[in-house]
Symmetry: C2
Subunit: 332 residues, 2 copies
């Protein structure tokens, strides 16, 4: 592969000059400019980002850690990030953690060695001190839906979302409302559940633990939860699922048991992954602007990268909006 030396030699100039014409970083006479450019194309020269990164101390690469890019929610988030990064001239390294702490650590280590300019981290609730090495090295981190000291983040108003979803069901006359929670992690899921319970309480409906199932965000776990609900002496007439995928799984199971949604049982999801408009029936859900959030996370990170100073910690909260489609209906 041609180097800057090859180009310089071919053009009969110094490597400084080659560098300067390529980066347009100082004036070069039209004549030598032309010679350099000619040599560049003739030799098919592609400057090494590695060498440049070494001296410039920036790689124009960011790391993205998600639990699983197959999960449509994270897929859409990743898309928003990649999009925005591309426009700004950054590449993104995709890291799936499967919510495994050891994989996270391994990837964090790799990203540190690769000298990424920043990382977008979203996943388990790793102890903050795992993230600190980055902070100390001056590598910006932003997180999503997790609140750490000193780390910028975009947060969701999960309590409000859970509350709104449940209110919607209550207003349709449901009083026996099941809830499919996410795995027992502090923020996301449990705040949604808290919102659910708050709405119930407000409506003077006592909380019934039998109506709470814990899933793991996958469609599969939504199926399991639905099966448990149906096994109850008196099944719920409506279900609030803490994400869309579990709702999809629940609906699939119900249908399989001859239970019609929403006629026999209403189901509301959370997220509004793009798919949710295409399932049968189209899913009522709490709409979250996923791709825009991805974009926002990326921009937030680029801002941190720009001003090396550890400025004020930023926190943006996004509130979801109830989106009524066809999976919920008046209680019969």
């Amino acid at each position: 592969m041609a180097t800057i030396y090859d180009v310089a030699e071919a053009a009969g100039v110094s490597i400084s000059t080659v560098s300067h014409v390529l980066n347009e970083t100082r004036f070069v006479s039209e004549n030598t400019r032309a010679k350099v450019l000619e040599a560049v194309t003739r030799l098919n020269y592609h400057p090494s980002s590695l060498a440049r990164a070494l001296v410039r101390q920036e790689t124009r690469t960011i790391g993205l850690i998600v639990p699983d890019n197959v999960n449509p929610f994270f897929a859409e988030l990743a898309r928003g990030i990649e999009n925005h990064g591309f426009q700004a001239g950054y590449s993104v390294i995709l890291c799936n953690s499967d919510r495994s702490t050891s994989k996270e650590l391994a990837y964090l280590e790799t990203l540190l060695s690769k000298r990424v300019d920043g990382v977008i981290y979203m996943t388990t609730d790793m102890a903050t001190d795992r993230l600190m090495p980055f902070h100390e090295e001056g590598i910006p981190i932003v997180t999503f839906d997790r609140d750490y000291d000193n780390i910028d983040s975009i947060l969701l108003d999960n309590f409000q979302g859970g509350y709104d979803a449940t209110r919607h069901l209550l207003e349709l006359g449901h009083t026996r409302i099941g809830c499919i929670a996410g795995p027992d992690s502090p923020s996301r899921s449990s705040d949604r559940v808290r919102g659910y319970r708050a709405a119930l309480e407000e409506a003077h409906i006592p909380y019934n633990p039998d109506l709470l199932c814990v899933g793991d965000w996958t469609a599969r776990s939504g199926q399991v939860a639905a099966s448990e609900f149906l096994r109850l002496p008196v099944p719920p007439t409506a279900i609030f699922s803490c994400n869309d995928m579990m709702a999809v799984g629940a609906i699939a199971f119900l249908r399989d048991r001859g239970c019609h949604v929403p006629q026999d049982i209403s189901v509301i999801g959370y997220d509004n992954i793009s798919l949710s408009a295409y399932v049968c029936p189209p899913l009522t859900t709490i709409a979250t602007p996923i791709e825009q959030i991805g974009q926002g996370l990326c921009q937030m990170l680029l801002d941190c990268i720009g001003e090396k100073l550890p400025a004020e910690t930023q926190r943006v909260t996004v509130r979801g909006a109830l989106l009524v489609r066809e999976s919920t209906a008046q209680v019969t």
Copy 2:
């Protein structure tokens, strides 16, 4: 950020020694070894992959170019690749092309500059000469479902798949079978359509152009296609969709029009994205081992990277298998 010099100084040894203990590349006395290791942890030293890459001439990074990682098919493929790469110590840079030639070129350029060790390329039918720069620079490329000279690839037996899908419908007694094709690109879609036509012909059913709609692989376009079918004087009794997402879209539209699947109309997809088991009704499809293919692509690439020699061009063909679920039924 601490460098190897800092560590060497702190441990009172030379940088060679530090390098050797870290890479275990030559014997170092237990005593100095300990001193080095101590300094490493004390200084929180993380060797720069950049510097290493510069001398070793390998980055342990690969590029992945897909049209859109939100499309579940590519999401699953990417997952398989990332997984396998991780195990082998490689990171992957995620590049979405949106099937735009200019984005592809921009990313190809970036990957070349970042000196990735190889790229997995899947997307439009860019002229082969676009890929050639890589080949010439000795950077291995593997492709998926596209056949280029001198480039390793995993291919799908699309003709057979289209044929099998259509045979399935024929065997259920359908004779009026619609087909939703992908965008007009040589390989994937049109071979599936060819298989469809071959099965029809074999059954002595004349090909009817009205029964062929062209989509763009998205659920949205599946909806549009279904609407066109329903607008026909005599709509089809079965639909073969060239991928699952369009089938999902078609089913959503049909349901919206009060048309039941499979009672009123059968629908068969292609791919077996993991979602297809959870839609209503669960989708009959041509099952493709997507994640394994991703893994295979990654391994193929790593093989190329290993032996720098441009060995025999490899081509592996994967045949899909009919997977009958509930979206297809006997004609009524």
